[in-house]
């Protein structure tokens, strides 16, 4: 491999794989990175943590040539390297796996792997060559995927493997992964870490961005902490603890466990029987779901993304139509046609914090106060005849923003200008402050930093203690384990089983999530 040889010659084997010196980057008024210096040693796994918006992704994007730094220099293998674009990063042996995969959905694995790294102008020889190399790589690193399969038919875990294969196919020595485990099952995450360790054995260097301190402790050799665009600390993993890291990140002590008393379950609020849903593509997403949620309890639904939890929330929230029986306080809810929409569900007393706040929960271009009425726009308190009562909305928004500590506390700001955590707080305030009899919550803390997680968890528990029923969907097993009073595991559109948090463990849940009966194993 000519590229490799050329690269080896330039490299100083003793030098760090990557060294950043004084990197600064501003987006308009936002100083995303300021004067960051960092060294990553060869053959190590280096973790980066930090609050939302701390600048982690920006830094890595600079390294990958996606953004151009305003100041600073990058050294790869000890020699100064200009990285004006991704092509240059690839030449320098850097590969990146983005949080949102960069795959062409209706292409095959093979086509995705060769894209941009073809051998010549004709496709056929490139593909043939890649097919062979792929089999070798698969053997070497446990990266099995069918090269001829279309990406859209692959699970997220497999898609991620394709991303890693892409990087390896381009002979990357340095692999950057941005929040890689957000959507993986525990088993898939374990597999990923096995792969990462294998890669490390081969002498590759890995940079791992994550919000999960557990993972940091688990796989990294060193860890850097970012805060407000600055690199505040770099420590050896074995010399630190999750508590210390959390404090370094947020700048104060953070409770890493949820504080909650025992549940006092009351009457059944929500009852779901034999719920079926077939989507517009004809895929069965729910295949007969049964469950109940009582007043004053949190039912957590665990499962790998795409096993029907989202569909369940959407049906209950009035977004999709379905067949089956759903009743609230014993009264049946229509599942299709009239009355099967978000407005009617809210009338019936259901609050809904959707999984995807950007796509569903907020109108990003509406101001905060306009978003406060979103979904409740027909409520009489917000209306004066055919007109909206904007003053009432503003006033309501001010109160909610204050009580939920949304920052900055400015109702005139458009939703897109709040950070992810604060956007989530806006949605939570809107949906929770009405004290709905049933609250549907999807992924309340996805991509949210640990400071905000703490706040959000406390609020959910408070609502439970006020005697409301809560249906929580999350792919984070930690979150499910610590928040729920009961846990249901979904697999392939069905409930695989129910467990009490006190009587189960991650391994068992993980088996259930993978469609195996945990007890048998």
């Amino acid at each position: 491999m000519s590229i490799i040889n050329e690269r080896e010659e330039r490299l100083d084997p003793a030098a760090p794989a990557i060294e950043l010196r004084g990197i600064s980057k501003a987006f308009g008024p936002v100083q995303a990175n300021s004067d960051i210096s960092m060294k990553v040693q060869r053959g190590t796994i280096h973790g980066i943590i930090g609050e939302n918006g701390a600048g982690k992704s920006t830094l890595m994007s600079i390294l990958y040539g996606f953004y151009k730094a305003d100041k600073g220099e990058i050294l790869v293998g000890g020699s100064k390297t200009e990285i004006p674009d991704s092509q240059a990063a690839i030449r320098a042996g850097i590969g990146m796996v983005f949080q949102h995969f960069k795959l062409v959905e209706n292409f095959t694995v093979l086509e995705n792997v060769v894209l941009g790294a073809e051998e010549g102008a004709m496709l056929r020889p490139s593909l043939a060559k890649a097919r062979k190399l792929l089999t070798d790589l698969a053997k070497e690193y446990e990266l099995n995927v069918d090269p001829e399969e279309l990406i859209e038919n692959l699970s997220v875990g497999h898609q991620q493997r394709v991303e890693i294969l892409k990087a390896l196919y381009r002979q990357a020595d340095i692999l950057i992964l941005d929040e890689p485990t957000g959507v993986l099952t525990p088993a898939e995450a374990d597999h990923l870490f096995r792969i990462l360790r294998n890669l490390r054995e081969e002498g590759k260097t890995i940079v791992l961005i994550t919000h999960k301190l557990g993972e940091i402790m688990d796989v990294t050799d060193t860890v850097s902490v970012m805060h407000h665009g600055k690199m505040t600390a770099t420590v050896k993993t074995k010399d630190t603890s999750p508590e210390e890291l959390a404090e370094l990140m947020v700048g104060r002590k953070v409770l890493l466990r949820v504080e909650k008393g025992p549940a006092k379950p009351g009457k059944v609020v929500l009852s779901v029987k034999n719920l079926h849903l077939t989507d517009s593509q004809g895929v069965q997403r729910l295949k007969g779901v049964d469950l109940e949620v009582r007043a004053g309890e949190i039912l957590g639904i665990a499962g790998v993304a795409g096993n029907g939890q989202s569909a369940l929330l959407e049906v209950l929230g009035g977004i999709s139509e379905a067949q089956g029986e759903v009743s609230l306080h014993g009264k049946p809810l229509p599942l299709s046609g009239k009355g099967a929409d978000g407005l009617s569900r809210r009338e019936a007393g259901i609050g809904h914090v959707p999984e995807d706040r950007h796509r569903l929960g907020l109108i990003l271009d509406f101001k905060a106060w306009e978003n406060i009425g979103f979904g409740y726009q027909e409520r009489s308190e917000y209306n004066r005849g055919p007109l909206m009562d904007n003053d009432a909305l503003r006033k309501d928004a001010e109160g909610k923003i204050e009580r939920f500590d949304v920052r900055p506390p400015n109702p005139e700001l458009e939703a897109k200008n709040f950070s992810g955590g604060n956007q989530q707080k806006l949605v939570l305030a809107r949906e929770m402050e009405r004290l709905p009899d049933l609250l549907l919550v999807g992924q309340p803390t996805r991509g949210v930093d640990i400071g905000a997680i703490e706040f959000i968890h406390q609020r959910i528990v408070e609502l439970r203690d006020a005697g409301k029923a809560i249906l929580l969907v999350s792919v984070e097993l930690d979150e499910i384990m610590s928040l729920s009073d009961r846990i249901a595991v979904m697999f392939d559109g069905q409930v695989m089983g129910e467990r009490l948090p006190s009587e189960t463990n991650e391994t068992e849940l993980g088996m259930l999530m993978a469609g195996m009966d945990g007890r048998a194993a």
Binding site: F66, Q87, M96, V104, L115, G116, A121, M122, L123, D178
Partner: protein
């Protein structure tokens, strides 16, 4: 309908389908790369004018063709600037280009030739002449094949054959070459292309330029092949029909051929059976005229559900992580 009528209808179909086909393939390249283009109409019109004008002045249809493609390419670059570089709305840019072409062609035409926006009629080498395919005369006596080859396939201008050959060529480029793979990828997920170290901008410009050349051929065919000179608004909605054909064809080259032939056939039928009667009731001419448009709507309503356009179509590429 007797056999000879059918042969003549097919002959006419092929002629009328050619500008649609070239424009449709033009749109295919552009939209496969994620750049919507409702400015096909305007590019065709501009190409028609400049090819006719240049051919009229120089007396060479080939120089005319060059000028036509040049004009179309110029508008393509404008569209590229608007929708790729400056990330503007692609539909709006297309609308503007259609107007620009409609106005400029007549304005310049009037200024140059003082013929009310028309170009002087073209004759001799300033027009594409029809070509007799090899063995056309030898094969003519054969039943079925003979007339089909001699009367339908043979005897068109070179651009008709260019259009027909462009179909397999397009297929080959899209599905058998590196460029095609990247082009299709950039229309589906430009982020993937960008992170793979390939320039999204360059690829899209490439596609838009190919689109310009093909539109140029389509326009040149209108003015120097199908007729002998330019008159204002001579594209007469063909760019829009080509777009409809593209959707109908689900953005695939071979389907595009069939869709364009279908629209060409409709047009030919409308010309041939202008005063049609159905069950004893005379169908208004206006209905026959509007038939392609009505059919387009029907087709869109009936089939588009199954046709998924390139996913990144219509959106400018903005880097995001």
């Amino acid at each position: 309908m007797d056999f000879s009528t059918i042969i003549l209808l097919l002959d006419s179909t092929l002629r009328l389908a050619t500008p649609l086909l070239l424009a449709c393939l033009a749109g295919l390249f552009s939209e496969r790369a994620g750049v919507l283009d409702i400015g096909l109409e305007g590019k065709m019109l501009a190409a028609a004018f400049f090819s006719a004008a240049c051919a009229a002045v120089t007396g060479s249809v080939w120089l005319g063709l060059l000028a036509g493609c040049g004009a179309s390419l110029f508008l393509s670059v404008v569209h590229g600037l608007a929708s790729i570089t400056f990330r503007g709305n692609q539909l709006i840019s297309g609308v503007a280009i259609n107007f620009l072409a409609a106005g400029l062609t007549v304005l310049i035409g009037q200024n140059w030739f003082s013929l009310g926006g028309r170009t002087p009629p073209l004759a001799g080498n300033a027009r594409f002449q029809s070509i007799t395919l090899p063995f056309a005369d030898t094969l003519e006596p054969l039943p079925l094949i003979g007339p089909l080859y001699h009367d339908v396939l043979s005897g068109h201008t070179i651009l008709v054959y260019v259009g027909l050959l462009a179909v397999p060529l397009t297929w080959w480029v899209l599905f058998r070459t590196r460029f095609g793979l990247r082009l299709r990828a950039v229309g589906e997920n430009p982020g993937a292309v960008d992170t793979a170290g390939v320039s999204v901008i360059k690829l899209r410009y490439g596609a838009v330029l190919i689109c310009g050349i093909l539109c140029g051929l389509a326009g040149a065919y209108l003015a120097t092949g199908l007729s002998a000179g330019f008159v204002k608004d001579m594209s007469a909605g063909r760019g829009f029909i080509a777009l409809a054909a593209l959707i109908f064809a689900k953005w695939r080259p071979w389907y595009a051929l069939s869709a364009c032939l279908l629209f060409g056939l409709l047009d030919a039928l409308g010309n041939r059976f202008q005063n049609a009667e159905l069950l004893g009731i005379a169908i208004p001419v206006q209905f026959m005229q509007a038939l392609p448009y009505i059919l387009t709507v029907v087709i869109l309503a009936g089939f588009v559900g199954k046709a998924t356009p390139p996913r990144a179509g219509g959106a400018a590429y903005v880097k995001e992580r």
